[in-house]
Amino acid sequence: MAKVVKEPKAKKKSEKQKADSKKKVIAPEITPEVPKEEEKVAAKPESKIKELQAKRDRKTVIMQGNEAVSYGALDAGVNFFAGYPITPSTEIAEILAAELPKRGGVFVQMEDEIASICAITGASLAGAKSLTATSGPGFSLMQEGIGFAKITETPCVVVNVQRLGPSTGMPTSPAQGDIMQTRWGSHGDSPAIVLYPASVKESYELTIRAVNLSEKYRTCVVLLMDEVIGHMRESVTLPDLANVKVINRIKPTVPPHWYKHYDENQKYLSPLASFGEGYRFHVSGLTHDSHGFPTNKSTEAAEMMDRLRKKIVYNIRDLVQIESHEMDDAKIAIFAAGITARAAKAAIAMARYEGIKVGLLRPLTIWPFPDDAVRKMLRDKDIVIVPELNQGQLIREIRRLTKDKSESEVVAIQRANGQLISPQDILRKIKEVC
């Protein structure tokens, strides 16, 4: 079904570009006597660069968040998508259905979301870089499959563009109700890497990062989006392909009979062979040994569970990204993610204009939670405001990390009615507490 991952396109193109531009400079010096050939050599790179630019002009463009996710996936080397279109993530499936076949990739529209997550896990085991996109109702169906991808340590990415829930809820309205589900949705203790963009450009960047982290840490990474970010259009300038960093899974270097599918090396990242490459391994959702065969031994179970945990806790520095905005002299801190953080930034600008010192802490990685950074940054703040589009999810983490603060010093703004929290709402709360 899936194709073996070759070199990622982004890298290939940039290397070619570099090689071509070198040719262009060197060519006239080396072969001044054969002008015809020289012309050809010199003409080639130019036309290629032009072609590249025409294909994907990196000028400033108007782009939707979902579009940015699709192009991020393509630039990160994703070559397999299986999914079931659902508002507000439909554009991702739409664009990849058109673009993937052109680039030798595979697009499959599945019968439902359970099949979708299983298909991308299978494709990944066969060597593809795979991704699916969904929203709340589909994400709930995928939980079992996500757990399977995590226990079998198979790289894949799930994009969840949140809408108001529970159940089918309001398809075209924003909400941030899946924050805890992305961490605890699947049963059993499992690692979770969840990224949360706040703009169209960041959607592009974090999609690439999600694919990279899934390959590096061999796990299912979730990209959590807001309906508004997915649907909004923004003027953006995407980075040049040459500046896009793409990470590929480590391939085994040992002879096939020595290969262990789950092998611990120093940083808890083990090489991954694909089916069909001559390496023998077993894939099972049952607790397994290093070759992937089911085991009931407590020592082997402990080893496996430990590896899943350590992958995350030993690499927190690599995983966590957090933005601090006007925090240095702030007395009041706001902790918010995604679209709510943008409302907070607007509120901060208004509050500072009136002389109230407010700052914002915004996680780009929400799981693993940026414990150390949050503790450190919020220690000397008088009051923390946590606005979110749900009935209280992020605030639980903030309360856990600010035990020294009283109930009244951690203030909530919560809304789950399909409307955004506006800058004025936050400003009003700031004035109330200061």
Binding site: I62, T172, V228, M232, S235, A343, L420, Q424
Partner: protein
């Protein structure tokens, strides 16, 4: 330009989100930073629909219009709902084909039966969105007419470019002759 917020409102099927995209792209061609958001129901026609466009020289934080400099209302419902969020010095443009009662008369109010005029002059009400958008751009001057034309050519499907360009010209003409 410091920060300019525009809300295009009406009902689903009137092409307001498309108008928002065209306006956003035109503003981008003029070198501004821009965001465009929308709100609409699950139905493809009917129900209320709106598109917000924010144009700024600097980074735009919150992408939804909360205090508009300009409001375009193509239905009575939209006009009633959003009129009070218009700034005091803001521009109000209404389609009198559907908006019969005005609860509050703003200083800069422009009233024209856009849908009727479009039906009469272009044979179909389908390009009312572009006619009223062109009118809005000409009266407020937020983006250049050239940028609008370029944006239209890029955004609209090739088969509909000529129709939409005629609609744009009609909108400009209405703006030039308004009040005369």
């Amino acid at each position: 330009m410091k920060n300019y917020e525009i809300r295009l409102s009406g009902s689903g099927g009137q092409g307001l989100i498309l108008a928002g995209i065209i306006l956003a792209r035109a503003a981008m061609y003029d070198g501004f930073k821009v965001t465009q958001t929308q709100s609409y129901g699950p139905e493809s026609r009917g129900g209320s629909s709106r598109a917000d466009v924010i144009i700024n020289n600097r980074e735009i934080y919150f992408p939804e219009a909360t205090n508009f400099n300009c409001l375009l209302a193509l239905t009575q419902e939209a006009c009633d709902k959003y009129l009070f969020d218009l700034r005091d010095e803001g521009t109000l443009i209404i389609d009198t084909t559907f908006v019969k009662n005005l609860a509050l008369a703003a200083d800069n109010t422009y009233e024209l039966p856009f849908t009727e005029i479009t039906q009469e002059r272009l044979g179909s009400p389908i390009s009312t969105n572009v006619v009223s958008l062109a009118f809005l751009i000409k009266t407020t001057g937020i983006v250049s007419p050239e940028a609008l034309e370029e944006s239209l050519r890029y955004t609209v499907k090739p088969a509909f470019v000529s129709l939409n360009l005629r609609a744009m010209e009609l909108g400009f003409e209405l703006a030039d002759n308004y009040g005369k």
